[in-house]
Subunit: 221 residues, 2 copies
């Protein structure tokens, strides 16, 4: 069999790109990574993603896929080793539900709470904490959302594990505090996991970027 | 084997409830339907859906699932007859992509175009038509998004097949016109399909509701 083509167009500080890289590393699938320039997107990227024109594009031989959750499910269904999703239909449904909860509820509220318009931050912070409480409850008793190992929800929740604390430091505001012991423990394990570490950008570089973009004048001085 | 419990809590004019009913009918799965009152939601509903408190709840024995797309995948993975998704990972990925495109791009723009704030309607109409053009192109050459038979994307796109024309009539504005011949043909086949028909509310009742809620004074007089 000729060598498979597996390519990922991504961007260094995109959590969505990092999700796909992590799934490929868990599976042990070799791939070529193409770092995209957000201003001058490659012709290949625009050809493959004409609808959304976003930087995340995954290519496997003839197959072109966009959207991180869709790509993760494709990877899990294509390379069966080290599954990131259970084979049980109900566990699969729950994983999809929680991944949507992270993307559609947690992330918008966390974004607004950390760098939204000042007038909206208080309300968004309350909302973000309500959402984190729900996640905290879901996690109780387990080290990961996947139960014993890193699974679909953990991969999607990379923003909560890594980027939230980067932005907290940049804007000098804490949201994911010790009020959430299970989530804090999960986050510590996550960012120190040897495979996951490889997929995360250097913390200082991320903070410097976040500070330049969203930091207070005090923080960025 | 004792009889399975399959229950659906829904609401008559919710397209999301109708999606789940259609999937169950395609599979030939018997179920109990519980019509919810939006104002006085049943204690059972609030117990099963404490996070979103929305009316759509699907129950299969011990398993409680919410969110229509998640429920559809569960149904397809649990009852294998008459599949609504292919077994091919790439076709599955494409079905998920297009279903998300319908829910996340088409529906918000169509809603705004048909009954959004007046100042935003022109821009939203342009956007809605751009999205319909993309769907039109995707459909070319096929009677359904599923290829030969009604599949996942067709089920999710029920809002475009049925509700758009209901609201068009109520607010006296056309968006899905003959500019989109493939979509018009698909819509006609859809609303006249004998199984699908059973899952759609009576057109006159839907129009009367839409007119009372969003119709122009002329239309509702």
């Amino acid at each position: 069999m000729s060598k498979e083509e597996v390519k990922l167009h991504g961007f260094w500080r995109s959590p969505y790109s990092r999700r796909v890289e992590l799934a490929l590393k868990i599976k042990g699938v070799e791939y070529e990574y193409i770092e995209e320039d957000l201003i001058n997107k490659s012709p290949e990227l625009l050809k493959y993603n004409p609808i959304h024109k976003k930087v995340l594009v995954f290519i496997h031989n003839e197959n072109v896929i966009i959207e991180s959750q869709v790509i993760l499910e494709y990877i899990d269904e294509t390379w069966k080793q080290n599954p990131i999703m259970s084979q049980d239909p109900y566990e699969r449904a729950m994983a999809r539900f929680w991944a949507n909860f992270v993307d559609q509820k947690c992330l918008p509220s966390l974004r607004k709470a950390l760098w939204g318009p000042e007038t909206e931050q208080e309300k968004a912070t309350e909302e973000a904490k309500e959402n984190l409480k729900i996640l905290e409850k879901e996690l109780q008793g387990n080290n990961t959302f996947g139960g014993e190992r890193i699974g679909f929800v953990d991969i999607v929740a990379n923003v909560i594990a890594y980027w939230v604390s980067v932005y907290e430091e940049a804007v000098e505001k804490k949201i994911l505090t010790e009020e959430f012991p299970a989530l804090c423990n999960w986050r510590n394990e996550y960012v120190n996991n040897s495979i996951i570490k490889e997929t995360l950008p250097p913390r200082e570089k991320s903070i410097a970027h976040a500070r330049a973009k969203y930091g207070t004048s005090k923080a960025s001085s």
